[in-house]
Each structure stands twice: as C-alpha cells, then as structure tokens.
Subunit: 548 residues, 2 copies
C-alpha cells in the first residue's frame, strides 16, 4: 500500500509504502514522485470507557465503533458487574469482538454500599482475585472513593487495590480524581492510582501531569484553556491520551466515537499529527500494549485509511490486516449475540400499581426536601418547599414523582420521593439502564403513567419506556436490563426518540439520557434516589423527604 | 527539600519543594522568591549494559556507580553466564545491591558454538525457562545472530525468543542490530527484537526509530550527525535512551558512568533537560518500570542532587530516600562479597610450559595467515605473509604469539597462532577476562614470558597478568576469573597499570583492554582465536594458520 504513512517516532506523515499480514511486515519511507491520495494511521485506542454507556455489550460496541476507527478499547464494565457480578463480567469477556477489547475490573461495585442501594453484586478483594490469569484484564477500573485512600483504616478500596497489585503487578490503576489537589492529590497518586479522566482546569492539568498522572481527556474536557496548554507544549505528548468515557448510542451514531474527540481537538487547534499520537501510541504505552499504536514491523496491522487528515475522513478500517469497514460498501451492525443464561430474564419484580407511587403525607402543611434536577450538571441540589397534603397525599403541583424500584427478586417496598424540575405535561419514563445499580428508575408526572411505564419495562424484561398522552416509546434492553441485542442503528434510533421525548417534556440537560440515569447514583451530590429511598450523598444516609 | 525540581511532564526545571520517604510523598511547584542553589533530578537508569565489562559483580558495580547517579540498571550478564551458566547468573541475582539491579537473560551463550569454542555453559529454551518467576528479570539479552532470525529453519535464537515470550510476556527483547536495513531490518524487528544499541548513522537512526525500534545510544554513538538529528526534533524523545553498554573499570573511575554519556550529549548541544529525560523516564518506560524515573508521588525516591545542571555536578545520590553518596563525605567502595562456592576456584587448568606456545612449522618457507590487530576497531583483518621456519618452529620476527587456553577442566591441547601488530618489546599478557568464553587469552612476544603470565593467572585463580623485563602487574579477578572482589578503586588502579603496560608495548586501540579481550570473540570479523585454534568468523570454521 502506498500512502502518507503516520510516523509515530516524529509525529508526522511521510510518503511511504508498506505491506502487511496480521502484523506489519514491511515499511519504507520513500521520496517517490507521485503524491499519495490517502493517509494511513494506526487504529485508535480508547484508554478509558464503559461499553454499557452505549447500551451495548462488547461485540455490539465493536460493530458500532469499527466504522469510527476504534480498534482497541479498555472498557471498565462497571454496569454489567453491578447487574451480574463476576460471572456477568466474565460473560462479557467471553464475547467475540472484531476489535481488541480489554477490560478494567471495576473497583466500586456497588457505587455506594448495600446499606444505601440494592445492587446485585458486591466486589471486594476476592472478586478481584477471581480474575487471576484472565488475559484480557489490563487495568483496575476507576477508583472513585478518594476518602478511602486518605483513611488510615482498612477499607474496601484499599483491599481492592492491594489485591489487584498482587494479581496483576504490571497493569495500571485508573482514577477518577475530580477536584483533588496539593497533598491530598499526592496521597491519591501515592496509593497507586495514577490516571484521571475527569474535567480539568489549566491548574489541575498542570499539577496532575507534573505529578506523574496520565491524563485522559474526553470530549467535554476540551476548552480553549486546556487545548492551549497542550498546543503550547508538545513535551506533554505521551503523558496524556484521548478517551470517550461515556458515549450514548445516538451520539455515537450521529457524531462518532474517539474520532469525534480527535476532530474536536483538531478543530480547536491541535495538529492532527499530535492528536493522532494521543489516541494511538500514548494510550498503547499506558495500557502496556507495545504491540500496537504504530505502523511498524511486528506491530498488529490495525490501521485506518483516511482521505483527509484534517477532518479525519475515514475511508476504511483494518484490524489484523483485514478490512472490516469500507466507506463505499454496505456495513451491517448486526451481531450474533445470544443472551447468556440468567441475563435474559433479569427483571425480577412483580407488577406495580399506581398507589405504589403516592407520596403519602399527613394532611395540612408539609415541609419537604427533594432533589432539584440541574440542567447543566448531573449533580442535583437540595430543594425545600412547603406543600399542602390532602387525603393523606402530597399535592404535588409541578413536582414529579421519582422512584427506583428494586428489581433483583426481593420485591422490596417502593419508596417514591418528589423531584423538582423534572418532566412537564402528562408523562412518565422508566429505565432499567439506571446507573450504577440498574434498578427501575421512574420519573413521572402521574401515578397511572408511572405504573404503566414500569410494568412495561418489567414485562419486556428491560429497556426504556416513555409514555405520554400521544405516544409510547420503548427501547428494549433485554440483556441484563442494560444492553440491547438489536442492531446498533435500531438502538440509536430508539434512543433518539427517547431524547426527543425528554426534551419535549421540558427535561433539559447537557445529556438528557445520562442525566436521567444518574438520578439514582448516590455518590455525587446532593440528593439522589435509590430503591431504599432518598439519599443525602454528603451524609451517606437515607433521609426522609418529609421534614416537617 | 527545596530545589529546582526536574519536571518530567514538560522536560524542564521548576522551583519546588518535596518531601519523601521510600517513595515521594509530596511535590509542589511554587513561585517562592529565593533562588534554589540545587537541582534535583531522578536517579539515572541504564537501559543496556553488562556489569562484568567493568570486572565487577552487581554489588561492586552498584558501589562503583552510585557516586555517578546510576540508581537502576538492566544488566545483560553474558559473561558470568558463559563462565557459570544458569547457576552463575542466579548467584549474581542473589547479590544484595544498593541500586536496583535488573537482569536481561543472555541470549547467546556461547557467542558462537561449542564446535568453535569451549564455554562452560550453553543456553537454549530450557535455560530461559529456568528463570521463570525470577522477579529481577526484565528483558531478554541482546540478540546478536540476525541470520537465525532470517532463517526459515528452527534454531536456537528462535527457540530462545519463543521461550522468553512465553515465560515473560511483558518484557522486551534487546537487539544488537548493526548494519541491518530495509526488508531485513523489518524482519529483524518483526521477530520481536525491538531495540538496538550499536553505533548509528543518521540514516540508520531514522530508519530504525521510525520502524518502532527503541534506540539505545552510548558514549561512542554520539557524533555531530546523530546529536543534530536528536536536537532538531524533540518528537523523538521517549523513543531513545542513553546507555553505557561496556565501561572498563579505569574509565568508570576517571570519567564516570551514565553521567559521562549525558555530559557528552550536553557538551555536543543537547539540552540538559532532554538529556535527563533520555536517562530517566524514557528508559523507565522501556523497562516497564513505571515506579521510577520521575520526581513524583508514589515513585521511588531515587534522585540526584546537582549543584550545576549543565555539567551535571553531582552533590549527592539518594536511593529509596536514603543518601548513599555525598560529595563532601568519604565514600567507601568496599563490598562484603563472599565468592560463591565453585566460583572461587574456577581456573581448572594444569600449569603450561613455554613449549606449549611454539608455533610449529616444517623448516623452510611457510605461508601463513593470521589476525591483524587493528587500532581503530575490535575487528581484526586477515594478514598473510611468507615466513621462514627453523628447527621446526616459525621464525616470528615481529609476529606475536596469540592463544586461548581452555580452563574449564578439560586440559585441552593448546593451539597457539601468530598475531600481527600485537605487543612490541619483550612482553606477555594473559587475561582470564576474555570475551565471551573467558578462557585464558595470552598475547606474547616470548614463549617463556607467555607461560609465566598464564601460570600466574592459573595459580592466582583468575586475573590479568602483564610481564615484561622490568615489572610484573597482576590484577586479581578471582570471582569466576572475570570479577574482582577488591574495592573498586584498587581494581581501577590495577586496570590503569595494565592499560599503561599495553600502550608502552605499542598496543594501540580505541580501548586497549577491551580490544585485547575480544581477540578471542569469534563472532566479529575476521580471524580470531579460541581454545580450539584460529577461527575464520565468516566461514564459522577452525582454520590453520599455515596455508602453504
């Protein structure tokens, strides 16, 4: 093949020829006269992400992202682990994928504790050791509980890091390190957690990278300040990589995957040559995958042919020397996926009734507290107001009903709470894709619609159901209640409709789908809901919404 | 500690403070007013070298190089492996050292074959597997036999690489890749051998680095062309490192170790900041040692305090937070080393007689071929001349006697050969430090002196003995016949005298000591000597020096 070949050693394109089998066998850079019409770059490597964020399992995710040039991923499968434990994750690992899928063992299952929420699994040191010898493991998934690292006492996070170090001495520990700084940050890093993929300021970027952290920059991480910091100093190359973290199915379909992150970086002023380095060789080294990320002899023949390097226009994508995507040929997203035993009927819950969603309160004035959904953040704020109660029920006015219904076979009592700034009009939405425990999260303006939405999700064994006066949308997620087994394009179409539904009913957010799903994630501020009721995440306690 | 701290992420010095235990616990970069008087950089990491080249074992070598800031090495202990096999190398590994000593398992023991030379060990796949689980192994030692890699047939080199890959999947394979280019080079690299530490031209540097090779540059590698290539393009940083390969004891004493390589690079125009990167973080990544090479939390507190960054003036050297060298305090090179059983009496040879060195030939004209020692290369050329023979012996005139006397207990017959351009005057030198089989190499202008030198080395159980009419020098190397157990400064003094002796007797070379020792290494052109006789290294055969 004759092309401008990406030369990793000097981060530049050079005219060259190469031939390949499963690995590259021969590469030469030459000064022949003809101007090549194509550019060849290594396949993209996504150093930090979660396949279930796209409502896909590894094989479906691979199919969905090959056209975008993603040939290697490290996925922290936090969601399937909450739903189905060690076995669930091992079932994912056993899936055949067209890309190279490596795994980070999730470190926070459940995200909080079994006192605050019902997940279907709990990981401690033994669960980490259960993956010993698993060749696809390449990292410990993001450590989120910084306080555990600062504590002098024995705790789950410390036990898990220690067990991982013993079981996989060569692999990195991923971090989630928002807002840590100074001596606290030093302690965080010294615990062995040396990456961060959260949003950065210029100050946090400089502090973390100079302290040896490997920084993972995602789409939302790029502002002019961060881009300028990188652009101004190529010395940082190799110490950061691009990643996707969470990409919802419809966004993936319309805008792309890791290629979308690169395009944004390039559009904001980073050279394509340096952007490519941050999505190929830099993440390869981070993942200790020295067999890829470079167009060179002995490396895997994973590469992308571009017709335009500035817009990253992808013509074809090759894995181990085999062309898996060609822009000019039809492409099928279908995968041959059989849902493993036990994960096809995972919504173990009897049908619910409208009465289950009554917000009960003594008649008269009631002072309440409840989550206030914010449009620019997935954190909620505390909302307080005084309401009336009549017939033993709260008069809700514009307040929504918010509940998470336990679905792992305990038929636990339902504990609905109010939600401020939720849906408008007559509407309900229920999703079994509800981070991180994936119980049945419901937001509704009406008890009858709430029950209807929940019962649909129970009956269909997982998915998202949105109902209003004019339509009913259903996106099936029948694999563990969180993953679609439909072809990706159909899934993306369904998610697009759900997003439109949320917007139509006044639910504003940076990402409506993700915002909804994390109303039940009790680790970010301030008030969240779980199957146990309302959680004050700062106190780490279940609290009543009726405060007077 | 307050200093200009080396910030690896941006390859620059910044004012800062840090505190440390065994690992760094806290680092901050600050804009305080005071100008620090010192610079702090990570301990130097030597990515490719051989401790026995300095006639030292790991503990003695560590003592000798700590004052030069070398805190981590990867040593390919090719010599002790030839002398004492797997057990010998494991004995090295068991030595306590003050630095971090990691090991590359040598891949070419013996250098040629047991048909051409008698070594005391032979490594194949089983010997590689014998190191399974050995935590100090970090690489397979340099693959020298490129032809084995190009061959379609099964051979020792291929078996060894495969066994290493299976036993140590995470670690690199070191290469010795002089003069390979084009498709041959591609095949060399595709075999899994992805580094090179031989001398480079600008062309070879660019070709190898762009093909994904990690380049290891040593003192003799730097010419203006190579330095300019690096200086002009900082993108290469991270894809090459500095190394020492072989440093003879007296040079180490007088000029330094890896610090000497850095000083040369800096003097030739590379910035200190980039030179430091190439001896700290770049080799750390190459060796998959992500716990060092950076002044940062969680990394080992291995660091050097400099008073001057441009001359790398070393004030103190710290390992795991402990000060091991202080320029202003006395320093002792002594190590507490007990020679392991079997390696203290390793010269198993009966005394020799002057007659053993007679160059026997039929009376009259004799046409001969013999090695011609070259002054600018360790390769020899073929020398042919016609001599007289009298009383059944060659009339040597200015020809020396060259022989290697087998010393592993076989008492094999001695096969002396002539040498052109050897010593002048009445002199003999015998060394049991004679690469790579370490039999007793002798160069002499006189048979009586030859026997005397050899018998001294036998009697003292290893070392270098140089004799002329006025003096007798002896450097004891009683550990396996190749390593000194004396304090390093005494050893260096002895080697200095041997070097002076060689010079005085007209033995010219870039490095007189190394040049002498490789007269018996039958893998580089053109005629060499082994205990079996004269080897034509191109033919790979024993040949007679009498050709007519």
């Amino acid at each position: 093949m004759q092309a401008y070949i990406y030369d990793t050693s000097c981060k530049s394109f050079r005219k060259g020829r190469f031939s390949f089998g499963k690995t590259f066998l021969s590469v030469s850079f030459e000064n022949y006269d003809e101007e090549p019409k194509q550019y060849v770059i290594p396949g993209l490597i996504d150093v930090h992400m979660h396949v279930e964020s796209s409502m896909l399992s590894p094989s479906g995710f691979s199919k969905a992202t090959i056209p975008h040039g993603t040939t290697t991923i490290l996925t922290d499968c936090h969601e399937i682990s909450n739903v189905a434990g060690v076995d669930g994750l091992k079932t994912f690992m056993a899936e055949k994928t067209e890309n190279s899928t490596f795994y980070a063992i999730p470190s926070s299952v459940p995200a909080s504790s079994l006192e605050l929420e019902t997940s279907n699994a709990s990981f401690d040191a033994d669960e980490i050791r259960a993956f010993k010898g698993e060749p696809l493991v390449r990292a410990l998934g993001e450590i989120m509980n910084a306080n555990d690292l600062y504590s002098e006492k024995d705790n789950r996070t410390k036990r898990i890091i220690q067990a991982f170090r013993q079981t996989f001495p060569h692999y990195p520990v991923e971090g989630h390190c928002a807002r840590q700084t100074g001596a606290k940050l030093d302690q965080f890093i010294a615990s062995g957690v040396d990456s961060d993929h959260t949003e950065q300021t210029r100050e946090s970027f400089l502090e973390k990278i100079s302290k040896g952290m490997f920084l993972e920059l995602q789409y939302k991480s790029f502002d002019q300040e961060i881009i300028k910091t990188i652009v101004d100093n190529p010395a940082y190359d190799g110490h950061y990589a691009f990643c996707t973290d969470d990409v919802i199915a419809d966004v993936l379909m319309k805008e792309g995957h890791l290629d979308r992150v690169l395009r944004k970086a390039i559009a904001m002023g980073l050279s394509p040559e340096r952007a490519i380095y941050a999505a190929t060789w830099a993440p390869a080294v981070r993942l200790r995958l020295f067999d890829r990320g470079w167009i060179a002899p002995g490396k895997r023949a994973d590469f992308i042919v571009l017709s335009d390097k500035d817009n990253l226009t992808i013509e074809s994508v090759w894995v181990e020397g085999k062309k898996l995507y060609d822009r000019n040929l039809p492409y099928s997203y279908a995968v041959n996926l059989t849902i493993p035993m036990g994960l096809g009927h995972s919504i173990k819950r009897s049908p619910v009734k409208p009465e289950d969603f009554y917000l009960l309160a003594p008649n008269g004035d009631v002072k309440i507290q409840c989550p206030l959904h914010q449009t620019n953040s997935t954190m909620t704020k505390r909302h307080e107001q005084t309401c009336k109660a009549k017939d033993g029920r709260l008069v809700r006015d514009d307040l929504n009903i918010l509940a998470e219904i336990e679905r792992y076979g305990h038929n636990s009592p339902i504990v609905p709470i109010p939600l401020k700034n939720g849906l408008q009009g007559n509407a309900a939405i229920c999703t079994s894709w509800a981070h991180d425990s994936h119980n049945l999260l419901v937001v509704a303006t009406d008890e009858i619609l709430a029950a209807k939405a929940v019962n649909t999700v129970i009956e269909k064994q997982g998915g998202i159901c949105a109902i209003d006066d004019t339509e009913q949308i259903f996106v099936p997620l029948t694999y563990g209640g969180i993953v679609s087994v439909e072809p990706f394009d159909r899934l993306a179409e369904g998610v697009t409709k759900v997003r439109a539904f949320l917007k139509r009913h006044g639910y504003e957010a940076t990402d409506e789908i993700m915002s909804l799903a994390v109303l039940g994630l009790p680790v970010s501020p301030e008030l969240k809901v779980t199957d146990k009721g309302m959680v004050d995440t700062k106190l780490g306690e279940i609290v009543d919404w009726r405060i007077g």
